[in-house]
């Protein structure tokens, strides 16, 4: 194993260990039944996260990659939210693939899965673990 690879693995481990809950925005920043994007600087490299707010449905809050692997553009938060076969999904606004909000699974391509993060309200604040 090269020194660079070892360094990389150590970084990964330390990032995983340092996963903490952090405030990203407030409820007023969210759009009901739609998405907004936020930066998550604790990730390496910093991640763009799409946050969806579905009041009265399931977990209410969902966080997944803002990056769309099909177009390589950061646009997932700007897709239409809906439910297909009982599961809440977002449709990419570019080529319209659907991603499950729960686990990031792409419905059209089983090999593609977006990252997801734990997210919840603390009072009026929105917190993400990452």
């Amino acid at each position: 194993m090269t020194a660079t690879a070892m360094k990389k693995e150590m970084d990964t481990v330390s990032v995983e260990n340092s996963k903490t809950w952090q405030k990203v925005c407030t409820k007023a920043d969210l759009v009901e039944f739609s998405g907004v994007a936020a930066w998550l600087d604790s990730c390496e490299p910093p991640a763009q996260v799409a946050i969806f707010y579905l009041p009265g449905h399931g977990n209410e809050l969902y966080a997944l990659d803002h990056h769309d692997p099909f177009s390589n553009a950061n646009v997932i938060a700007r897709g239409i939210v809906g439910d297909l076969k009982g599961a809440p999904v977002v449709a990419s606004p570019i080529y319209k693939q659907h991603f499950r909000l729960e686990d990031g699974q792409c419905l059209e391509d089983e090999d593609i899965k977006l990252r997801t993060w734990k997210i919840e309200f603390k009072g009026d604040e929105v917190w993400i673990e990452g």
């Binding site: 920043d29 177009s71 950061n74 700007r78 239409i80 076969k85």
Partner: protein
Amino acid sequence: MSTKLKLLGVDVGSIGDAHGNQNPGARMFRYLDPLTQVYRKIVVSSDGKKLLGAMLVGDNSAYDTLLQYYSNGIELPDEPASLILPQSSGAAPALGPGALPETATICSCHNVSKGDICATIDGGAVDLTGVKGETKASTGCGGCTALLKSVVDHELEARGVEVDKSICEHFAHTRQGLYDIVRVEGIKTFSELIDKHGNPETHRLGCDICKPAVASILASCFNEPITDASHVPLQDTNDTFMANMQKNGTYSVVPRVAGGEITPDKLIVLGEVAKKYGLYSKVTGGQRIDLFGARLEDLPDIWSELIDAGFETGHAYGKSLRTVKSCVGSTWCRYGVQDSVGMAIQLENRYKGLRSPHKIKFGVSGCTRECAEAQSKDIGIIATENGWNLYVCGNGGMRPRHAELFATDLDDEQLYRTIDRFLMFYVRTADRLQRTSVWRENLEGGLDYLKEVVLDDSLGIGDELERQMQTVIDNYQCEWADAISDPEKLKRFRSFVNDERPDPSIIMTSERGQLRPA
């Protein structure tokens, strides 16, 4: 000629010689139920063997069966009246497409039999479009559209192919059905519609098929701002941000340039805005300027500057009226016979903001040389010595189609009224994402039927269609002017809710003196 439709929730249908006045010796059977407001009439040949015509009001359930008896000359049962009597009194079972013989002619324009259709399906056609492409059935007068569909659906189902007419899993309705429900019940939000008429088996969120379709229907009926809180989650990204998303996640901006006429001062503003925000500039096919590469967070500032200079939104992002292209007309051209630019501006300002099943384009030419290419538009207008000739249902794009002459030598007022009716009838009856050309090709009765409805007011809905259009016109407002005056709406135009730094992965490079995605 045969037709079937739903008017304000009431089914009406007419087949062949519905009045019984074209066939001497014809006999009529009538059934009237004054309680449920149902009326059915059949016109039968003098020997009682053939169906010559029919009229249905309040209930169209007998339509398909009657049409098959009529179209294929199938011999009537011994008691023809049984076809229109209520089921409880022992009416004859419906004659489904399965009961038609292989030799039955389905499309008489192209001489296509049921056997031909079955052979096409066995040969690999998997849907109506495939069958039509292969056999040309229903591409002539269009009168057999419904019959063809029922035969194709039946044959596909018989081969195990599921045929579902629902718009999506959330509604067991077509777009047209949803449109009628919204109008008749005055429903103004998606949540009310899905609560009352959604499929109880599915969740209540809707999807990327039904939500934009319902958003479009609500806008066609009530024209409330699409950026209002209850409508926001329904919109495609282009409508949400009132700009066209490009492949790198940036947007293009197209202000309205009615009729393609623009002052030097406004041209200069477009240039200055493009320069300031680093936008790639291109002239569009609809005689406007498209500014590409705008970042989400820059859109409000760009629009503030454009609105200050007198621009308004161009709806290039919406399924709505796009542009009215014009030639320079009699003002400058030595051949022009009318002021085509003036008319184009009038029309564009009249119909701007009209949301419809798909985008709509107009063209106005000042003489028969047709420099505005009006005959390739949904609505084409060509000046004559006496007024305007109106062409409808043309299209460029993937399947080019010449518009057809609809009315001649109209004066200005007649032209507005005819287009009001035509467009509203399209908005009412077209399918989701169906351009006027495809709508026209699928319309039972074809152009003649369209003329009867719009010009002769055969359905008695002309006034209503005009009123509806007037509502849309009266409620027009520039969506961008509305949005930039509302801090809540502006919050959406942040790339990130917790940071003002721009998206670093949007990278531009230079080509031919302008920026483009790297």
